[in-house]
Amino acid sequence: MSEPIIQTHQLTKQYGKRYSVKDLDLRVAKGDVYGFLGPNGAGKTTTIKMLLGLVQPTQGYVQIFGQDIQENRKQILRHVGALVESPTYYGHLSGYENLKLITQVLGLPKREIEEVLYIVGLSNDAGRLVRGYSLGMKQRLGIAAALLGNPKLLILDEPTNGLDPAGIREIRELIKRLAEEQGMTILISSHLLSEIEQTVTTVGIIFRGQLIFQKSLQALKQRAKGRLELEVSRPEEAKVHLQSFGWNPDLHGDRICFEVMSRKNVAQLIKTLVQGQFSVYGMNSIQPSLENIFIQLTERESC
């Protein structure tokens, strides 16, 4: 196992009587692209704010690069880039000027501004006032700001929020590139699994303040099973017919469902149906959807 970049221990935040985050043990290894998932209000942003030292935990503690965030805040933040909630921007300044404000405080050279603008693809719009930027561009400017100073860890809180499909794709490509080319460890939160499914290596799912899943994307995918749906005439009879031949069908409405099977078996199945004088109108192979697992996981918790 590689060394953890982020590690939290029993992290808890209580607002009044309500637990916003409870006993969270987050672990992000070096080089991970960690997808931090949860429905709205699950405690994602609160957790991220605690990671960054913006909010004090009620209990537990956060270690980043093996150091406590409360004690070594400045040293840690020097190597962390983050975009929390909505991006910060001064509308009356240009994109370049907005980034200049940060390099000024951090004492970074000007060429870093051009570098990050290039990475997020805003070089051509750097001179325009940010007021006139589209939401996607503002979001990318926010990421550019987070990239200043060449951080080892990048924390992005819902970077795809409010973007159109093209914008979401752009951000996704960008994150992929950052992880692959720059070797950054990235934590990215979202309430939509499909948005980050193609980008992340590890997934943590938070629900009502608790971490209910934290494993590799592969492990999550294994939990999801695909299925085969058949639309046939007289489904009830077809089910009985198939059962008599040793199949194990499920009836969902007027569709007959099976677990994923080999191509040979599919052919055999259809042959059985046709020979039994049933008309096959259509067949659907339902891909394993992470969305479904997500719902399954969260529903079980809410029962």
Binding site: G53, I76, G91, V105
Partner: protein, 236 residues
């Protein structure tokens, strides 16, 4: 700290704030010019003291309103930019953004005072009020300015912590309106409220007027440190 201050100054680019700092002293002096042009024969015999007295009528209210507006504009910019989370994850001490911004407010108000001083000296000389009473004018402008420090810190702290700028502006306007009543009220207790220091610090007042700027600066510094610490502890 200096880097943060430079960064804060850069944020003023293309805003109204620098223009306002030039415009406001013009407006303030313009009022006196109009006043003296209309009834010079009445005001001329009063000399420099008369000009200072007329300045004194408006100066406390102008100061408090100026502080209120400027504090609100400087902080409102950050609220609008949703900048607090970004600022607080910069690898710098959490009190720096607060003190840097306050420095900017303080220096801006100093510029305002200096331009007003220049304007009044020019007015006095143009209307031939006798040998230039530079010291008196400076005292009239600077004593209330230093006495206003607690109010400045209070307004600044309110503007920085409250997102809805209507609240600090309302408090500032009420403070400006009440300052004269508090200063001239028969109840000495009311003189202890910081808004009263500002009118009381005019050199035209009787007694030891220099105590008010002194108290103002001392109380102001104390409040500044306290509010800075509070601000750094805020959670976003």
């Amino acid at each position: 700290m200096l880097e943060m201050l430079i960064s804060d100054i850069r944020k003023l680019n293309r805003t109204w704030i620098p223009w306002l700092l030039i415009l406001a002293p013009f407006a303030f002096c313009g009022l006196q010019i109009a006043n003296y042009m209309i009834r010079l024969e009445l005001l001329h015999p009063l000399g420099w003291k008369g000009l200072v007295a007329w300045t004194n009528y408006f100066w406390p209210v102008t100061l408090i309103l100026g502080i209120t507006l400027l504090a609100s504009m400087l902080s409102g910019m950050e609220h609008d930019a949703k900048a607090w989370t970004k600022i607080f994850i910069l690898p710098i001490n959490k009190t720096i953004p607060f003190f840097s911004k306050f420095q900017l407010l303080f220096v801006s108000m100093m510029i305002f005072v200096f331009l007003t001083y220049t304007g009044l000296i020019i007015i006095g000389n143009r209307f031939d009020l006798g040998p230039t009473a530079g010291m008196l004018v400076a005292q009239q402008l600077l004593y209330p300015f230093f006495a206003s420090m607690p109010v400045m810190v209070l307004q600044f702290w309110l503007s920085m912590t409250i997102q809805n700028q209507a609240v600090p502006i309302t408090i500032g306007v009420v403070g400006a309106t009440l300052s004269l009543f508090l200063a001239y009220s028969p109840l000495p207790v009311l003189n202890l409220l910081p808004w009263a220091y500002i009118p009381l610090a005019s050199p035209l007042q009787e007694g030891n007027v220099a105590q008010w700027p002194l108290i103002g600066v001392l109380l102001g510094c104390f409040l500044l440190i306290a509010s800075g610490r509070h601000f750094a502890k805020r959670e976003f």
